[in-house]
Symmetry: C4
Subunit: 247 residues, 4 copies
């Protein structure tokens, strides 16, 4: 049984992995459909039944993983153990009671998305990359935050009088800062005075280079970690096994 659940060597083990992944995606789609407005009561019932079946299988999987673990407590408090637990918790908490309306409990169901991390190499790398570049990300994020705050204060003084509704306070201006410096530019708030536009210009010329730094660090850190792991796997031979169709 351990081989089926934990390993990827046997055909059954792989089939089990794929089955769980399909179930996670299936359960996430169900979760999304539930948010559609104007659903018929009949559809709601079907969706609820699917939800119950998914949770039962996830519970069985969770208990099985505890059963096969050599150090049971260690697994329960491990990263993946906790994710498995929180993925089923909201269902049991709202069971019987009518707490389903509490939005926070429904949001907790998103933990199921994290169950996919176990099977996705890229997401594991993402976590590792964030740890490797932690120090740099914090340093450059802090400068990005200071820049965004500086831009917000500046635009507030230029635009507050011309547009008292849209630039009501520095907090409202912060929204403009974020949307502009990431170049999203929704168009809900934008400067209209000559001074505000000149200020926007200078902030953009300098600021785009600064906001690009954390983005670049995350990007390069992830591809570096990926390539290292890739190399290791290739050397150890494990890689060939996983990507037989590639060679």
């Amino acid at each position: 049984m351990k081989k089926i659940i934990d390993g990827r060597d046997t055909t059954l083990g792989r089939a089990f992995d794929i089955f769980i992944q399909i179930l996670i995606i299936f359960s996430i789609i169900t979760f999304s459909i539930e948010t559609l407005p104007d659903l018929k009561p009949h559809t709601r019932e079907i969706l609820h039944s699917i939800e119950v079946i998914c949770v039962i299988i996830f519970t069985a999987e969770y208990l099985a993983r505890i059963y096969i673990a050599d150090k049971k407590l260690k697994f329960i408090f491990s990263f993946f153990g906790l994710i498995d637990f929180f993925a089923i918790l909201p269902f049991y908490l709202t069971f019987g009671l009518d707490l389903r309306s509490l939005r926070i409990f429904r949001l907790l169901r998103l933990f199921r998305l994290l169950k996919l991390v176990r099977y996705n190499r890229a997401m594991q790398h993402f976590g590792r990359a964030m740890i490797v570049a932690k120090e740099q990300i914090i340093l450059f994020m802090s400068i990005t935050l200071i820049l965004i705050y500086f831009a917000a204060t500046g635009i507030y003084y230029f635009e507050h009088e011309a547009q008292p509704e849209k630039f009501a306070s520095i907090f409202d201006s912060l929204w403009w800062s974020i949307v502009t410096l990431t170049t999203v530019g929704y168009g809900d708030v934008y400067p209209v005075t000559m001074g505000g536009r000149l200020f926007t210009f200078f902030i953009l010329l300098i600021g785009l280079g600064i906001v690009a730094i954390p983005t670049g660090i995350i990007s390069s850190s992830m591809t570096k970690v990926f390539n290292e792991k890739h190399q290791e796997l290739k050397e150890s031979g494990e890689y060939d096994e996983l990507f037989e169709e590639e060679e």
Copy 2:
């Protein structure tokens, strides 16, 4: 005849290549003009005549290519053989019948665009680059998709009550996710609550770095493949021939 159609060595061979390329572009422009509203019946007739002439020439080219191929079946089922076939198919399917109104048949005419691949080195590299980086693109695309879904679920919980029309369900929120994380920012949907805006901020700070990865992989993979091919061509001397004006 083989030399004219297949080779680029003779003056006639090059002339034939250029003639076919001009015809493809000409036929695409015709196709675009047909979509213009308020066309006079007379103009429509002219456009239809041009279309008929183009298809006749493309058919002749297709048959000639089969004729000169050493392994006829292999050519018919090759990448370029199939493109040549599908580029003329929609015309013959709708011939006589009044199926022209079927939009899908008109869309199939886009296969003619793919005929250009035969002559465009960059597009051939694009295909090759996508195959080389296939594994990485799939891995990082999957993390991008998970991030987009995560952003959509988050914004749904923050904005659904404030804007029930625009963030009607998670599927509507997905549109917001895509438009925001690619920094397109049309401005048709955007958060208005404090929570939604803070969430947007954090998603953008982390997310831009993640969405940039597949983009970067495609970019770097293409330039790498291009430079390698470039080098090969230069060494083999074939390059000098193609770009005589450069040296």
Copy 3:
């Protein structure tokens, strides 16, 4: 006392640094809250009291730093000395008088943000990176400015007749140039004529590559300076001390 204020070696020294940083952030938040509309007079009074306390502490810190400095005049006219001075100046200038309404004096309070530079390594690198890449930034900024002006003149001639309100003069068109070439695209001004749209297309294809250069220079210069400093600190052993938790 010198050890407490200037050094980071003693526990008290570190505590003092953290205390000042918290106070700066606290004072900035207060400053932002003051801009909120519809504040109760009572809240205003509290905010003013906090402001007074912050300024008193900053003044004490400033005087203490002068006191411990070996060369007092050199400190007063140094970068950090001037920042410390201008961070408290606006308060004393408006003290007693009712100059608080003068917006420029309130904006001067932003100098407090610069006090954070003393404690933030990334921001120190930013300054250094700008000096290192100064020549390149000026050269490429000049080409960016010429491009933006060229785009503005072009769009003015294409769009002025169609949209005399939005493209009233070249100065109004400059705003469009900036917003478009940085890809922010608020959507307040955009071309509507065929010519203007074609022009936008060509400007974007060439221009995005040019506007990306100063951004890229700032980014790469900062990461280069950071890595060099990082290396130096690691070699000198100072680094271990600062980031003991890392090793």
Copy 4:
């Protein structure tokens, strides 16, 4: 006299260069102010007088450059010779006649902007970089154009029925393609159907990587050319002379 106009070695030569540059910028600002609506007749007269003075000096400069040139004809038909000629031509063509209203003649005045190239190293590098990367830029631009056309055709079929006004033909859809794939996203046209949105999503995921390639080529080619020239100048010692304040 040759030393003053052509060289940068003497103090007078440098002063002359700076004087001409200031005059160019001054003349461009005048040109921009003329486009302002609601100018008083008096202001118009002043602007016209400035224009006349600028043109007289530029004419004198042009004639002097011909006079000092060893091979006069070669200078007249050189790049800078032609720019100098076209920078003054529009004035003389409209002199006496009332052709000033002809917009094309006013646009020709932009040639003065190109006179700045003589003094700006970055702009000279831009020209050189475009020539060096010419082949690559053409190849990847062609793939970008095909992608933009493909996106336009696709969105036309998805959105034409839902928004017959905005996606009236493939030509209108091309505008959407350009604005979306460069991530400008004005928000004047955007898909509203489920199919159109899904199509936008896939086009963005693949397309951003492709549109980024020409941008990247221009960027990297320019910085490469700049660094090479920089190195050469440094070695030849010419650099020290130009940037004495740096060393």
